[in-house]
Symmetry: C3
Subunit: 312 residues, 3 copies
């Protein structure tokens, strides 16, 4: 079973996964659990942390990583279709993690593949494993997810991590503040999921108006590479949000700042030294969560077929 979108999982699935990740973080795991298993990273967009995080995860469990050279090295440059590439690459490993600039490529790949595929980011759509590590981090940093007031701040339109995260948070009884300029607001289909699950959420462009109430500040950079007009990028960059130590003085003392990274100007480096800055711990948590996920998918057929057919 492939993992393409966060909605394939149930809340119980995630709870079990986080418990396993916690054990791994404590050092309680079998270093040879994935001996003989091969992960194939296929990144059609650049990546450092997602790809390396997955690679180190499989290595830490005794398995191997066999990355396909990035796009320009791919047979695709000889005119091969994505379907052919996936069919062949399926023969070379036990699981594929794939990133692609288009939204539909992952579904196409999962149809052709003879091994499970993990979505490592598909265009503006989803990035489900980022959400798993985000939720794990919130749980760990705040002791719970339920009952928190969480601000999703920035380019909610183009940032796939925000789409997966909003859907993932909708499993929990949280209050969401969606903070963005109107033209960068969360897409309708994601808001529909929030409504279907009865999530409490409000929208605003004014970060300061709600900052003092937040338990979690989740920032994302302006996805400038997804916006074609340079003038629009420039204008949006000027209006964009920026978390500074000064601004945090108006926030709850125990608020945590999360960020999927890469960071540009939206969180000042001066924040790094504050205990509120949880983003580097968050990146580190990605390894534990992905170790748990790979172990489940390769040794326990997770997520199961039943999960796939779950109706939300």
């Amino acid at each position: 079973m492939s993992l393409l979108r966060i909605n394939q999982l149930s809340k119980a699935d995630m709870t079990a996964l986080f418990a396993q990740a916690h054990e791994i973080e404590q050092g309680n795991y079998n270093r040879e659990a994935l001996r003989g298993k091969i992960l194939i990273p296929m990144f059609f967009e650049p990546s450092t942390r997602t790809r390396l995080s997955f690679e180190t995860a499989i290595l830490r469990l005794g398995g191997q990583a066999l990355p396909v050279p990035e796009t320009n090295g791919l047979a695709i440059s000889k005119g091969e279709s994505l379907q052919d590439t996936i069919k062949v690459v399926s023969s070379f490993g036990d699981i594929i993690v794939m990133r692609h600039p288009t939204e539909t490529a992952l579904d196409l790949a999962a149809e052709c593949a003879t091994v499970p595929i993990i979505n490592g980011g598909n265009g503006c759509d989803e990035h489900p494993t980022q959400t798993l590590l985000d939720l794990y981090t919130i749980q760990k940093e705040k002791g719970r997810i339920e009952g928190l007031h969480i601000g999703l701040i920035g380019d909610l339109k183009h940032a796939r991590v925000m789409h997966s995260l909003a859907k993932g948070l909708a499993f929990y009884d949280v209050r969401l503040s969606l903070v963005s300029p109107p033209e960068l607001s969360l897409p309708d289909d994601v808001r529909d999921v929030l409504r279907q699950r009865g999530s409490m959420f409000e929208e605003t462009a004014d970060l300061q108006s709600i900052l003092g109430e937040l338990d979690v500040i989740y920032m994302v950079m302006l996805q400038h590479h997804r916006i074609s007009d340079p003038q629009t990028v420039q204008r949006l960059q000027q209006e964009y949000y920026c978390i500074t130590p000064e601004l945090l003085q108006t926030a709850k003392p125990d608020v945590i700042v999360l960020h999927p990274l890469v960071r540009r100007d939206e969180v000042s480096p001066e924040v790094d030294v504050l205990p509120n800055a949880a983003y580097f711990r968050q990146a580190r948590n990605g390894v534990f969560v992905r170790m748990a996920l790979l172990e489940q998918m390769l040794n326990h057929d997770f997520p199961g077929q039943k999960e796939k057919n779950r109706v939300f």
Copy 2:
């Protein structure tokens, strides 16, 4: 001993190799057979399947792959000679698989190297491990190689896989149909090998005239990157062969279609669902055959020195 060309092997060598590959395919092999051994892929031309196939082969046997970054990352960009690079890289691994755009580079490399080199494709010359997996696939799909009527179809002039395969098939009692436009016909030196071994072969540009008699259809794409004139490429592409479900209705019901891949237009994707389409199984067989080959070369000094001096 390096493996540069298919003629270094005897028919008995190949039979033994295929028997071992078959055992591997059944799961009967030692997962730690190459523990501590390092394969170094050096690809001076892009490759997905050959490189990944070799890498997964060594990993499946408990060894490691240590790819040299593709050409632009090579010390060669600092002006280093191929000889110097090979001499140094020899210190870093136990066996090298190398692809190079020129025909002579592999011989040069094998002279300088202090470890065995496997030819992963040298210009328009040879690609011997592709032939090994091709022959293994024919044997497996048809139950035998002897007595078959095999069509080699397409750009027989530039496609190195066709040169190695024709020479490899000449060990067996088969009938070959060489199907190509006259200007893309099999080079004289390869035909000379066929003649020396007394192989039955005929040449034609007309695929339909012999299609109904074939047991094996082996297609290859127009090697457009080896043809300098764009107009020639365009003309040849228009005249080129294309296997479709309709065309296969005039073939034997149990004909198999092989292709080394990358595929472009010469086999329609609609053929994929037919049982005759064996090319994805063929790609998968590459892993088993290369596992057998690496195990033989690293643990059993295969092909032996005697083999090298064999006169054909």
Copy 3:
């Protein structure tokens, strides 16, 4: 503890390291000594031998290498700071080897990293592990370092290997001849280290005047990529030194020729067949020395904190 410059080590440290490298070269080492450890190569400048040498070193000891894709694949291309990249990458491995075009980047990285960093070359500054293998090679080839007359020849200004090597040799009672055109002479700060340690050295532009006295000829190529003016490069290239078999007839019969490689014209390929040519053996020694270094740094906290604070 990171290893950024050769002066962090003591002579005793190096002696112990070379003894361990010698045992490794004899095959006396634990193939699983670094099982479960991950080395992360981060090369912001191209490299073949340094990177591959480190990677094979960790693999030979049962560990794993997880290279960060070269600069263009880095998150840095999305505008990420080096600090952020290092902080995140620290979570993914146990030790980092880093090369960077600027002198200060390694210090910055070592400050941010939560794992040890090895300097794989920082701009024109240092390349300490090259010096370790250079000294190991001299010791092995000549039976000793003390008492030798060693010529450092070529672009002593820009070549970081020369800076580290001069400082490393200053631990020993040797006589140094610094041979370069005046405008490519050894930087003042390196000469200051030689003076502080009371090293005997002389400077000349005339190789022939001292060639007959040398026990070791250490060549380096003109660092043309560090010189901005093409005319200057051309002029210096024409005046540059070149070791030939003819020239070696005026040298001691047992002189050895060393070179960190990549080589261009400064050592004629005709020298390769002479017993004096030690540069390919030198490259091979790099694996043994780096195996010893990685084992010490990962299993024995080498170089220790005390070493760091040593005053030279």
